[in-house]
């Protein structure tokens, strides 16, 4: 632990957004929005600076208050955490800019939602803290901060539909976190430590560890809306305000995925079996097929995009069966691990950019039409070419057509699937892409169709459309530094590692 350079940056990444959130409560509506936009640039540039520091010096750590673990809290910023923090920063800046104009434009109709800014900064602090956390209990606290802020943001509009969806979301999230905490209690009871590094070494296979693994994984699957626990996601994400939907879909669900990735590859290696990986893969494949099919059936734009989120998150789960090696296979000779990890990271990034862009575009459409029925998208190309282009570009990345980030992710996933000999995942990946193409082209077909009414769209500020378009372009631009990014990520302890599954044995407990 000592060999890593210590820096104040990890603490600042959590503290600064928290300070801004508290400060913004002292301002009135106008000042708060201004503070919000300036603050987002401040936090964003701090995050990018920290990212650059990590590329230079490798993993940096911070020991809060000088109290060494196990009593104190250690924040660790390794390349994997740095990539997630950087991604949050870039998307956060664009969504903040969009929100500023979005709430200004809507002032006459509903209000300016002054609570958005403090909640968003608390959410940002929670996300950064989650990515930096290095012990099981800290992860629990951060994911609770994220959940409460996310639900509060989702019900911001105060409409009964959003409130009900929010309560459903909150209850599902509480079940998820309680299940997770139950697993943490069992692990603490059997090992006496919560530190991820230490647990990776001292955790022994046994009934207690297996049970803890099951409840922790189930809890996280509920939080990340994996099939069949996805029931709360579409109503909550579609009923929220546009910038909030973008935040929830692009960033919040990724938090639970990040936790699961870390815990599976760093802590639970000892009790994972090949079958466990396959099971997670099946839930992922089911989510891909079910979510894409449901998206195809929707008649509302936002519900379509929300169901598409369920499907795209499914792709992320399909990297787990590739990481858990079959008995007898060794991590050194498994050449599909690097493609699988690349696929996972790029799916996270491509989906974050594309989905943020699609939800922001949906917000623009709602602003221009007053509703979001897909049928009314007719002639969008002539009236709002930039938004139509954003929908098209983001859609292409979701389908996975070259040269988008989504293409890189799905191509690498397919490559990993064939290299590992687990060909049975390929049909689900391809069918998912085909169904995605179905709903994206359904949107685009209407966008090019002639309008049935005169002047179908009300004017919308240009800057909103620019934000959505830039985010959509982002899902293509991430491909350019791909090689360097993968090289950088290899400095992280877990990246590229596989889980050598063991034959289960051992008696009761871990003693």
């Amino acid at each position: 632990m000592k060999e890593f350079p210590t820096s104040a940056l990890p603490a600042l990444l959590v503290g600064l957004p928290m300070l801004l959130a508290t400060m913004s409560l002292f301002f009135r509506v106008k000042g708060r929005a201004l503070l919000g936009v300036l603050g987002s640039f401040l936090v964003g540039s701090l995050a990018l600076f920290a990212f650059i520091e990590v590329t230079k010096y490798g993993t940096i750590i911070h020991i809060l208050g000088g109290w060494e673990p196990p009593l104190g809290i250690l924040l660790r910023m390794d390349p994997l955490a740095a990539v997630f923090i950087g991604l949050t920063a870039i998307i956060g800046i664009f969504i903040s800019l969009y929100s500023w104009w979005y709430f200004r434009a809507r002032i006459a109709s509903i209000g300016r939602f002054p609570l958005f800014w403090p909640l968003w900064f608390f959410l940002w602090a929670g996300l950064n803290a989650l990515f930096l956390s290095n012990d099981l209990f800290n992860l629990y606290v951060t994911i609770e901060v994220i959940t409460i802020c996310a639900v509060a943001l989702a019900v911001l509009s105060g409409e009964p539909k959003a409130l009900k969806a929010g309560l459903r979301y909150l209850l599902a999230a509480i079940i998820g976190s309680m299940a997770y905490l139950f697993g943490v209690a069992l692990i603490y009871g059997s090992t006496g430590t919560l530190d991820l590094y230490l647990l990776g070494e001292v955790l022994k296979p046994g009934n207690t560890t297996t049970f803890a693994l099951i409840v922790i994984t189930l809890g996280l699957l509920i939080k990340k809306a994996a099939f069949p626990f996805h029931f709360w996601l579409p109503p909550a994400h579609s009923a929220a305000l546009a910038p909030v939907s973008a935040l929830l879909s692009a960033l919040v669900v990724k938090g639970a995925f990040y936790m699961m990735l870390r815990l599976w590859t760093e802590v639970f290696e000892v009790s994972l079996t090949f079958a466990a990986g396959q099971l997670i893969g099946i839930t992922g494949a089911a989510a891909v097929l079910w979510g894409s099919w449901q998206a195809l059936l929707q008649t509302n734009f936002k519900l379509l995009v929300a169901h598409s989120s369920v499907a795209q998150m499914g792709y992320l789960l399909m990297m787990f069966p590739l990481l858990v090696l079959a008995p007898g296979q060794m991590a050194d000779s498994a050449d599909w691990l690097a493609p699988a990890w690349t696929a996972g990271i790029f799916q996270v990034m491509a989906h974050a950019f594309a989905k943020a862009s699609l939800f922001l575009s949906a917000g623009i459409v709602v602003m221009a039409l007053g509703h979001d029925r897909i049928e009314s998208l007719r002639d969008l190309v002539a009236w709002m070419p930039m938004t139509a282009m954003a929908i098209g570009i983001a859609g292409v990345s979701l389908i996975g057509l070259p040269p988008s980030g989504g293409f890189l992710a799905k191509w690498m996933l397919l490559k990993g699937v064939f290299l590992s000999g687990q060909w049975w995942w390929a049909p689900a990946i391809l069918a998912g892409s085909l169904l995605t193409a179905g709903y994206v082209f359904m949107l685009l077909r209407l966008a090019f169709a002639p309008a049935r009414v005169k002047d179908p769209f009300r004017p919308v500020p240009k800057i909103l459309q620019v934000c959505a378009l830039l985010l959509a372009l982002g899902s293509f631009l991430i491909v350019i530094p791909a090689e360097n990014l993968i090289q950088f990520l290899e400095g992280s302890k877990s990246f590229g590692s596989g889980i050598e599954s063991i034959v289960k044995g051992g008696g009761y407990g871990n003693e």
Partner: protein, 102 residues
């Protein structure tokens, strides 16, 4: 076979957790669902503290207590938030379950 004291508490905690989990899914009324999540939380916290003192000789481990205190604060916040959401829904629509009124 004589059970250790901490084993009785651990088993109770599992039962409490299961009761709560069942309650969230089976109960219809918002209040019942929220109370069920609180019972789940009670089970988890009991599980934590039950591991703190396993024999009569050594002192109790303070870390689980610190964790449980934090956990209780978080759980109370979440429950309060859920209650205020349920209240607002009731005020606006008069409904107290997720199912639409017939």
């Amino acid at each position: 076979m004589k059970m250790e004291t901490y084993e009785i508490y651990s088993l109770t905690s599992v039962v409490l957790f299961a009761i709560g989990l069942g309650g969230v899914f089976l109960a219809k009324h918002f209040l019942r669902k929220i109370i069920a999540t609180i019972i789940m939380g009670g089970g988890v916290f009991l599980c934590f503290v039950s591991f703190a003192k396993r024999d009569a000789i050594t002192f109790a481990d303070p870390i689980p207590h610190a964790l449980v205190i934090t956990g209780i604060v978080v759980a109370v916040t979440a429950a309060a938030f859920a209650l205020s959401l349920a209240r607002r829904i009731h005020k606006l629509t008069g409904e107290d379950t997720f199912e639409a009124k017939k």
